[in-house]
């Protein structure tokens, strides 16, 4: 995966988090981030994001890190 498309994916995820942060409690916000990504992102993109989160990429917004665990493609690490 190219560097620029990684950063682009992270940018998009962070943007979603930023825009869904206001007027909502933390848990509600995380749930909405997850729902948005589930609804609008292709599985390949969701899997890429999950993989990046698994690598502990520091660029990723904290709430995105938690939101990906709510995606249907997510499987908890063993």
């Amino acid at each position: 995966m190219s560097h620029s498309s990684t950063s682009h994916l992270i940018e998009m995820a962070n943007q979603i988090a930023l825009n869904l942060s206001h007027g909502r409690e933390q848990l509600e916000c995380i749930s909405e981030i997850a729902k948005h990504i589930q609804r609008f992102w292709a599985p390949s993109m969701r899997l890429q994001l999950i993989a990046l989160v698994a690598l502990d990429n520091p660029q990723i917004h904290q709430r995105v890190n938690i939101a990906v665990t709510q995606l249907s493609d997510y499987s908890a690490p063993t």
Partner: protein
């Protein structure tokens, strides 16, 4: 139940509803007046003229200066009648009906007077009827014949205007002053209908003449070449050049324009298979007999020499094209796509649909992707323009569309235009808007530039909020804050119609002081007082209507801004009747349709998510395949995936992503990473230069189908001529599906619409027979609304409550700094259309041969830039060069350009930043530096070289070995 539409009965000449001119405009009143004309009784609304009442009875009182799209003038004195009890012979055009009136339209005295009037007209008019371009279609001829003119007793040796010269400066029509009868219909058309006020009558009495501008030629005046004057002219004075050359049409067909989202209805005047003229259809519900320069005159591109009519293939973009038969091209494509999927998985190919194409065609492409490619990788141009509208209005008003008709603006009291430039991009709607403003409605414009609408003849915006690009949400929040802060909410509406919880959350959020104009001015640049005044004006209006465009959507917070706009309308109760509403000005002729048809990676037709099992089963049964329930790739995701090596094949119908999508170099990289790009288009466009298969497309004149405009109005597109390449676009998709092993059996596009109607609740009642009967239909059209729905959300929001959405301002990541201190924003101009593929191949080039960079005098001076200088524009994405235009309508710190010419490279400079919810590119905010340069940018030099090579490959295209089609 599939209703069959019999193509045999869809006669080429559609029942052209009365194109008759009834003399004066229709008047609406609840009071009815009954009168007697020539002994026949008729009842008409109060305010109707005697002339019109007679015309309705088919009693055609002679007239020359009256026309039913213009208020009466009373100058020609031909329409005089005799009215019992009224003195003299009043002009029937300026005489309103009165109860019990008794009118006689013909008497010996009237006849004599009319002959005398005609005698005067003809005494100063050339007598070359038989060789005149208006022969066969001349109201002067008709009147002279009608009144029985037999002699001109004055003779022809006196002073006259017969040697007046002809102004041929406009590329599409001539102004032959020697034939002018000074009826001033053209002047009034330019005023009332178009609102440009370019024409006037100069001089008095015998010296009166029509002049354009300050006695200039038409091309040098303010004339926008809309053609309203040409249509209004009763003689040969203002005449289309095509009629002068070719003569009168032999038949006409009604169809719909393929340019902008107004979707004007046109009468195509034809000789055999050739379109010689497009005249606005006076019964067009969207345009009411008006048009703009593009639809009216710029249709010649369909026969341009650049038109490609043979399928072509090649293995690599470094090879010349090979002309092949249709079957060979389709088999080549099918084999490539199948082998790519075998190697890289079923998600490695996809398609992009076109707003240029009909609903039926777009429906088939998304069907092809879902049923035959077995994925959801289908997207459309709406991605880059109004996808935030789809998201934002669905989230708040429960439906992804605008709420009104265009006509609704005539009932608005306060009009708020945000991020739209209607006089350039929706001209016919803008003319209606200006008419309403001249009637007294108030205007607020939110735009970083001083667009024409701010200060137009006889109209001026009460408030122009000239904000910094990228701050829309802060501004919209400030307006909302004022509405809450100053208790301007429509609490009754909110309680009845909106979700309580959502509203109270929103209320708590927006009342915070950080949203107040006094605090947001630092972000937006709009002074607090102005902001408050504008907010009050909108909120206090009886009918407040919001119109918005890409200046709202093409931002990193586009969806938020749309939701903010819906919030404003709900907060003030401005929904659910005439004169109000939320009106996205959809740019393209069928972008609304493309969205309705589900050409989205996440939605099936009718805006239903692919994960919705019930909907999916419906389609699975109809199409006899299993469908993917996961969302597919959006256009920008397709590019990223291509660069990553996963997305390899693309079927691109009528969309030029290499020119219209942002960050051109990124797009080029993506295209070059793919193995099989199939472009279906009219010309070798920018994307086709990177393609491996070229399938020749068909213009709107070469097919049957429907377009849906910004009003949700579905209108017929009718075939005027045989497709030049032998197939209509929908037939190509069907053939491609067949080559891939899937049969689609349709004898006529009406059958495709029947299938759509059967599967889509909002389209249930739509069929071609009903379209013919009603002229056009606004969806939803179903059992609840059998004749369609002009105004939406009258009693509820699609059966539910409206939802206020919280929209916090989040500054765009695209920041200015000392390297990139200016903000670039983009837009359109009247004469060119989007990427210019069509309009650049017409005489519209005369008005806009190149894109220019508009810069404020202050910024120009700082950089030593003078008008016409070449300047380099550099951003974090790339660099290009344009010539500069210095203009005070910009603001310091903001520059502007259009994107109609590929060489301009406007998108080389725009970035991959996009809307958080939909990935709609942030075209409107790019941080740039502008400097004087002495040569074109590197990208432009490379572009020229690449283009030259690709044109060479096209010219060298070899003939097919055998002609099997």
């Amino acid at each position: 139940m599939i209703q069959y539409f019999d193509p045999k009965t869809d006669s080429i000449i559609n029942p052209i509803h009365a194109q008759r001119d009834l003399g004066t405009p229709e008047k609406f009143s609840t009071t009815e007046i009954t009168l007697d004309i020539d002994g026949v009784s008729i009842t008409v609304p109060q305010g109707t003229s005697v002339l019109r009442a007679a015309a309705i009875l088919n009693i055609n009182i002679p007239k020359l200066c009256a026309s039913d799209n213009l208020e009466p003038f009373g100058s020609c004195r031909l329409c005089m009648v005799s009215i019992e009890g009224m003195r003299g012979m009043p002009a029937s055009c300026t005489t309103p009906v009165k109860a019990g009136m008794k009118v006689q339209t013909q008497t010996p005295a009237l006849a004599k007077l009319r002959r005398n009037v005609m005698e005067l007209y003809i005494s100063d008019h050339p007598l070359d009827c038989l060789t005149c371009p208006a022969n066969g279609d001349c109201e002067l001829q008709d009147m002279a014949g009608g009144v029985g003119l037999r002699e001109v007793r004055y003779g022809f040796s006196g002073e006259n205007h017969l040697d007046a010269s002809t102004d041929t400066s406009n590329p599409y029509f001539d102004f032959d002053a020697s034939k002018c009868i000074v009826c001033s219909r053209c002047v009034r058309a330019c005023e009332d209908v178009q609102g440009t006020f370019a024409l006037t009558i100069e001089g008095r009495g015998f010296d009166s003449k029509v002049v354009a501008g300050q006695n200039q030629s038409f091309i040098d005046s303010d004339c926008v070449s809309c053609g309203a004057c040409v249509q209004a002219c009763p003689t040969s004075t203002l005449m289309e050049k095509s009629i002068v050359e070719m003569g009168q049409p032999d038949h006409s067909v009604i169809t719909t324009c393929a340019y902008c989202g107004v979707g004007c209805s046109f009468k195509a005047d034809m000789q055999g298979e050739k379109v010689i003229r497009m005249v606005p259809d006076k019964n067009g519900q969207a345009n009411q007999g008006h048009s703009c320069v593009k639809g009216r005159f710029a249709f010649g591109y369909a026969n341009h020499k650049d038109r490609i009519t043979s399928p072509m293939i090649r293995n690599s973009i470094d090879e010349p094209w090979q002309k092949v038969s249709w079957q060979q091209a389709l088999d080549f494509t099918a084999n490539k796509f199948r082998s790519i999927q075998e190697q890289h998985g079923r998600n490695s190919i996809g398609a992009i649909t076109s707003s240029r194409c009909t609903n039926e065609e777009t429906y088939l492409v998304q069907k092809l992707v879902r049923a035959v490619f077995n994925n959801n990788n289908v997207d459309t141009c709406a991605r880059v323009c109004h996808s935030p509208t789809g998201y934002g209005l669905k989230a708040t008003l429960n439906e992804s569309s605008g709420t009104q008709t265009f006509q609704s603006v005539m009932a608005a009291d306060v009009i708020l235009v945000i991020g739209a430039n209607p006089t350039d991009a929706h001209p016919v709607f803008a003319s209606m808007l200006k008419r309403r403003l001249r009637q007294g409605a108030k205007l607020i414009v939110v735009d970083p530039r001083t667009i024409d609408l701010v200060n137009s003849p006889h109209t001026k915006a009460q408030h122009h909020l000239k904000l910094r690009p990228g701050t829309n949400v802060a501004l919209i929040n400030a307006i909302a804050h004022v509405i809450v802060d100053e208790a301007l909410l429509d609490n009754d509406f909110i309680t009845r119609r909106c979700n309580d919880l959502a509203f109270s959350k929103w209320f708590e959020h927006i009342k915070d002081a950080r949203h107040a104009p006094e605090n947001t001015w630092q972000i937006t640049g709009v002074p607090a007082q102005e902001m408050r005044a504008a907010a009050r004006l909108y909120a206090k209006a009886n009918n407040g209507a919001i119109y918005y465009g890409l200046g709202v959507t093409e931002h990193s917070q586009g969806s938020s801004a749309v939701m903010g706009i819906a919030n404003l309308a709900m907060a003030t109760g401005n929904i659910g009747r005439e004169g109000v509403g939320v009106n996205p000005l959809r740019g393209q002729n069928n972008v609304q349709g493309a969205c309705d048809m589900g050409s989205f990676p996440h939605e099936l037709p009718g805006y239903r998510h692919v994960s919705d099992t019930t909907t999916r089963h419906l389609f699975e049964n109809a199409w006899q395949v299993e469908l993917d329930h996961e969302p597919g790739l959006r256009i920008p995701n397709m590019f990223d995936s291509a660069i990553n090596g996963h997305f390899k094949g693309l079927y691109c119908q009528g969309e030029d992503i290499a020119q219209s999508d942002p960050n051109t170099q990124h797009v080029q990289q993506a295209l070059m990473a793919m193995e099989c790009i199939v472009v279906q288009d009219l010309f070798l466009n920018e994307t086709a230069k990177y393609a491996h298969v070229f399938l020749p497309g068909s213009s709107f004149m070469e097919k049957n189908g429907t377009f849906t405009n910004a009003e949700r109005r579905i209108s017929r597109v009718r075939k005027l001529m045989q497709p030049l390449a032998g197939k209509e676009d929908w037939q190509v998709t069907v053939a491609l599906a067949k080559a891939l092993g899937y049969e689609m059996n349709y004898a006529h596009p009406s059958e495709i619409m029947d299938e759509i109607a059967a599967l889509t609740p909002t389209f249930n009642g739509v069929n071609y027979a009903l379209l013919d009967k009603l002229g056009s239909i606004q969806w939803p059209c179903n059992e609840q609304a059998p004749e369609g729905t002009p105004v939406m959300h009258i009693s509820d929001f699609v059966g539910k409550q409206g939802k206020f959405a919280i929209t916090e301002y989040v500054a765009t990541p695209e920041k200015v700094n000392k390297h990139f201190p200016l903000l670039l924003t983009t837009g359109r101009i009247l004469s060119q259309y989007n990427v210019g593929a069509q309009t650049r191949r017409t005489d519209n080039q005369i008005w806009h041969e190149e894109d220019r960079l508009e810069i404020h005098p202050h910024d120009a001076e700082e950089r030593g830039i003078t008008p016409g200088d070449w300047v380099g524009i550099a951003s974090r994405a790339g660099t290009t060069a344009l010539r500069a235009t210095i203009s005070k309508r910009m603001q310091p710190g903001v520059v502007y350009t259009t994107f109609h010419h590929p060489l301009s490279g406007a998108n080389v400079v725009t970035t991959n930043n996009s809307d958080w919810a939909t990935n709609c590119p942030e075209y409107k905010v790019t941080a740039v530096q502008v400097t004087q340069v002495s040569e074109p940018a590197k990208w432009q030099a490379e572009y020229r070289e690449f283009t030259a090579r690709q044109h060479h490959f096209l010219n060298k295209a070899s003939e097919p070995f055998n002609d099997i089609s």
